[in-house]
Amino acid sequence: MLRELGVDDFILLLTGAQWTILLSLVAFVGGGLIGLFTAIARSLGPLPLRWLAAGYIQVVQGTPLLGQLFLFYYGFSIFGFDVSAFIAVSTAMILFSGAFLGDIWRGCIESVPETQWEASEALGLSFTEQLRYVILPQAVQVAIPPTVGFMAQIVKNTSLAALVGFVDLLRMGQLVTAATFEPFAVYMIVALMYFSLCYPLSVWSYHLERKLNVADPN
């Protein structure tokens, strides 16, 4: 039985959007932690650790997120863990974000001039002190604009979770479409909802970048 597209459907989509936001936050926080370790390992770690980090980044960036999602979705049960779709999808999204953030932040750490290391070493700082007081504060400044930009990427990429049945904004869109048979209107609303999540992040990222470039013309 078809029904008219109405306010109720809009509210349903909003509840789906809540899950999109939650999944994005989980992916960003979890991915951020992994990304931090990856970035440090990739740029400053001993050689085997560097290769490991580089391999992790390469594999994640070289395979489709869709494949990663399906592997985790089916992989958990094969290895004997009975987990919900949310856990499977979160794990995949965390590892995905971790690799990209690790790569972004690696670039930021490496953008700090070599002389900063030398100067702080000359001042007698230990390695962790150098990292904590000299290198990371400068790297973080460079890192903020692309990180905010990547948050928008995370939000967009969570939409793939709908394909393994996780009821996020897009999946809710599919369900509402099935009930109302108004695919164009529903998917346009879904697109605009994603847009209203991502566009502010994009604009924010753009302004942060401009501010950064004003502060440092190089």
Binding site: L71, S159, Y187
Partner: protein
């Protein structure tokens, strides 16, 4: 863990997977060329076009860059028929992916063009080159050279993104994977092999683009 992996059925159907991979490469190549054209046109309009056209291109770029590709594909394939535009799955896939890549390419190429010093364009005009010649020799080729690495990354993201068109029933590698999954019930093995095939393709594309870049761009001095 009491699961024993069984890769045999996957490799028994490897010719199907290779066929799917070939379709993915074909789809990627077509979309890359179309996307590059849309991107060049979009960048030219965004820089030199009249104000309404600039705003229109700006809205297009912002809308596409801030919504998921999957939603865009759903709009093209499932949405457009309800306003009277019915596309076959492969056409919808090419159209959706081109619209998507075109928006990113517009931004990348625009940045490249704006990195070309104005004096170079003036110098080209002074030498008696026509506007078209200036665009061809002084602007677009050096601009593409500047942003080539960013463009290549975007191309590879696109190649990986083609996997999504399997969900609007267009045939490519991931579509084959879904089919084999439904027939063999060996999802883990299939998606593992297929993911590795994508990895091989993205490494292959990277190497190929490095070679292409070597041939079409003159090495920069200084």
């Amino acid at each position: 863990m009491d699961y024993s992996f069984n890769f045999r059925p996957v490799f028994n159907n490897f010719d199907m997977l290779l066929e799917g991979a070939l379709l993915t490469l074909e789809l990627s190549a077509i979309t890359m060329m179309l996307g590059l054209m849309v991107g060049t046109l979009g960048a030219a309009i965004k820089i030199w076009g009249p104000r309404p056209a600039r705003l229109l291109v700006g809205a297009y770029v912002n809308f596409i860059r801030n919504t998921p590709l999957l939603v865009q594909l759903f709009i093209v394939y499932f949405g457009l028929p309800s306003i009277g535009i019915r596309l076959a799955a492969p056409d919808a896939a090419v159209l959706g992916l081109t619209i998507y890549l075109g928006a990113y390419a517009t931004e990348i190429i625009r940045a490249g063009i704006q990195a070309i010093p104005k004096s170079q364009i003036e110098a080209g005009l002074c030498l008696g080159l026509s506007y078209l010649q200036v665009f061809r020799y002084v602007i677009i080729v050096p601009a593409l050279q500047v942003v080539y690495p960013a463009l290549v990354s975007q191309f590879i993201l696109l190649m990986l993104g083609t996997s999504l068109v399997s969900f609007i029933s267009a045939k490519e590698l991931f579509h084959t994977a879904l089919f084999l999954d439904s027939r063999t019930f060996l999802p883990f093995e299939i998606y593992l092999v297929v993911s590795l095939m994508y990895l091989a393709m993205s490494l292959g594309f990277r190497a190929l683009f490095a070679v292409i870049g070597h041939f079409i761009f003159t090495p920069t001095r200084g």
